[in-house]
Point group: C3
């Protein structure tokens, strides 16, 4: 495997094989599979789960990793081209990325959306620029402006583990959050669930409609898998018979890059906090999913997070096993 | 071993076995003992020795670790319950701790005392709250509000290595420091020395008496081991025939949580700096111990630290070997 | 090998053997050579390449490392002797360095020049003080005030890899940079190239003459190897027939420690930016070398860095392989 950038690059069978490999590596550890192998981890945006789970994943396979993160002296990493670097930035990504990549057998890169221009972010232009500098090593998207394939792989596995049927109903719901967040997880998740063959409903308030590019990609996946994709603002309709509700906040797409406009719209939406009444007409065993970190009492209530519907800890653990499968395929043999 | 939280949870024989194992792993390395095993290291308070020695310990046994530390983007980790997280904190310990634990085969946690309410800290309520979230993995106390068992295990081994007799005289002395520090090391040390069977004297100025809960725990250990525990303000009496003086500064217990009251008392005590005259009536080979970091010329003079009495470097090295024994028992086979 | 502090401590044959070993470890990995071995990495100055490449080097040999860096809570590490530590510094290097060393099988130390007194820095007094505290472990200079042997070893190998002849012409040129930088890389590089047997020219503007101690050391190496060393301000003369130009900025030696004097001189020198016209009378295949990080459009133009002359990525990769050879010799068997 030369890159793990987008679930859309893989067939359903390939994804199922990765998930099966993840399960096998959990059940039957292979602590020497990647001995002497190195994963370079470049975080241009902060992380807790991804940082931890990738390090742990390499260790469990007998290899190791090193981390370059925004807490280090790389705040001034320049990414603009054709610039005279006489300011504070001491190094350009054109050197930093190939060098960091050269020390590993594969490299993971994280760079969140700028959230200024929605088309720029949907096209993942910044991330494509960064990864175009990796010329001779496999690489992994550890969350870009518009994708988070490691999260999606883990979420697919979590639903498998919990017996959520491939053709089940999957609600992805916007939730309130005091800050405007990137679209990456929602975009990745709606596509993942559609590709899994689920009947996917995006539940969101007005002003948070997903852009056509994101919806079209999900619909294409649904058409191939036998699933479906729709959007609504009607919570009751969305939750009817749902197997899963996946909460994720994101920027207003109507006011993308307009902080004040987003804020004005957002502050009316504090009631978009997932709670037990939301589940009134869902399936009794309807699950609650979230990629974490989650704001308690803001995106979802404590009783949901602490109750039997929540899959968040199991889901986070699957990050490690999903990534072990990806790393195994990239670096073994 | 499911947890390493307090030496009081172990018999003297079990501690001696751990120390013997530590010595064996030093003399006869086992670089594949923990291959593929992962230690999660969660520092909610800063560290240098503990951070380094745990990473090195895992590596020497063929495993590895990852670190989440306060320097990372976790400053806003929320720990209050029932709160609406609409402030700066992006994640709650109820998610963060189980997730971090889920990536390892064991987890170490450090969280210093709040130093507001002495009973809250002596009960180790915050730390108990954090570790209650670790439901299915062994865990290690890497220093809590009131305990530091890894330090105590290393100190016990250091005394063994230096031939300090089990029934020797052990003076633990308060020392001047410009800041009010936690009680954890003193509480752990007085109990450790008592459990080892030593005749323990706590030497401290008025206003720094140890709380009954700490003294009673040490006295109980002494009663079982044949040692003794007492307190005094009289340096000459304390040092008479001493085998060891262990210096450690801590908050005034009379003014606990009262910064100004503590400071007013403390600033009269700059002469509590261990120096050669303190040893006038000690045993000629009386040793100086300190858990580090130590402030030179403040807690102890250069000539003591740089002279033959000092055990501080040897003691710090034993942190690694003691922890290797704990990790070996937790994760091997 | 007990220390790797300066290429001058090794014969040419020993250096060639290290480079051959580096090549062998690249071609034929030995992922268990250093199993259970630990490298302590102490950064008192910031790093990206050295930080990454040493961690990766240990992993490739089956060992591991831990990092203590300035981003951690060690900003207040005290290094003055005989001081009363009642300020902000919580720990002294006299404890920190031996303790950190005690957890590893070898230790790397980085500490940049103070840039106050040129003789103090040329004598490497601070670094000698730090490393004098490492009494029983091999250690590596990861860049001191006046040396950077890991960089030089990599540069030598890079020239070998590219077929630059031992007796070729090597221009080391000052380049513009908005900040006054240490002399370490230039001092190490001029000596390395001389020792390799090259005809070395130091090209620099007036006020940036290298101190006699640096020139004499390089001339001594040249005398033994059959090379030569000279200085000039004349770019055309310097570049005539050159095989390599190595750019590196540094403080004005005339105004060393005098920030305003250095700045006044420096701001007239923005045209010292390596560009294609510099190569007019060089050999057609003349290479461009730089230790990185490099400021684009300031020290060198984009077209040079992105063109066929540039060796910077290859050179940075050789850092890892050179260091693997050093670590292998230090810790294996």
């Amino acid at each position: 495997m030369l890159r793990f950038n987008d679930l859309a690059d893989f067939s359903r069978e390939e994804i199922k094989e990765l998930i099966a490999l993840a399960g096998r590596l959990d059940a039957k550890p292979e602590p020497r599979a990647l001995e002497g192998k190195v994963l370079s981890l470049l975080f241009l945006s902060p992380s807790l789960r991804t940082l931890s789970s990738f390090q742990a994943a390499m260790l469990r396979l007998g290899g190791g990793s090193f981390v370059i993160s925004p807490e280090m002296s790389i705040h001034g990493l320049e990414s603009r081209y054709g610039i005279v670097m006489d300011g504070t930035a001491a190094e350009h990504v054109r050197e930093a990325i190939p060098v960091i990549a050269s020390y590993g057998d594969a490299i993971g890169v994280r760079a969140f959306a700028e959230r200024r221009d929605i088309n720029h972010d949907i096209a993942d232009n910044d991330f494509k620029g960064y990864t175009s500098l990796i010329t001779d090593k496999p690489w992994i998207n550890m969350e870009s402006a518009i994708d988070h394939p490691c999260q999606s792989l883990a979420d697919w596995k979590t639903m498998d583990d919990l017996g959520v049927p491939d053709g089940g109903k999957f609600v992805i719901s916007w939730a309130y959050h005091p800050r405007a967040l990137p679209l990456a997880v929602t975009a990745a998740t709606i596509h993942m669930a559609a590709k899994r063959g689920m009947n996917v409903v995006n539940l969101r308030p007005p002003g948070f409609e997903l852009p056509p590019a994101i919806m079209d990609k999900a619909r294409k996946a649904a058409a191939e898998s036998g699933g479906s994709v729709s959007e609504t603002t009607d919570r009751r309709e969305a939750m009817e018979g749902a197997h899963v509700i996946y909460a994720k906040s994101y920027s207003s797409t109507r006011h993308y890059g307009d902080k004040l406009g987003d804020q004005a719209l957002r502050e009316e939406l504090v009631h978009w906090c997932v709670d037990e009444p939301w589940f009134a007409n869902a399936r009794p065993d309807c699950k609650f999913m979230h990629c974490l970190p989650v704001r308690r009492g803001v995106e979802v209530t404590d009783r949901i997070l602490d109750g039997p519907r929540s899959t968040v800890i199991k889901g986070a653990r699957n990050r490690m096993y999903g990534q072990m499968a990806v790393l195994y395929r990239m670096m073994k043999g």
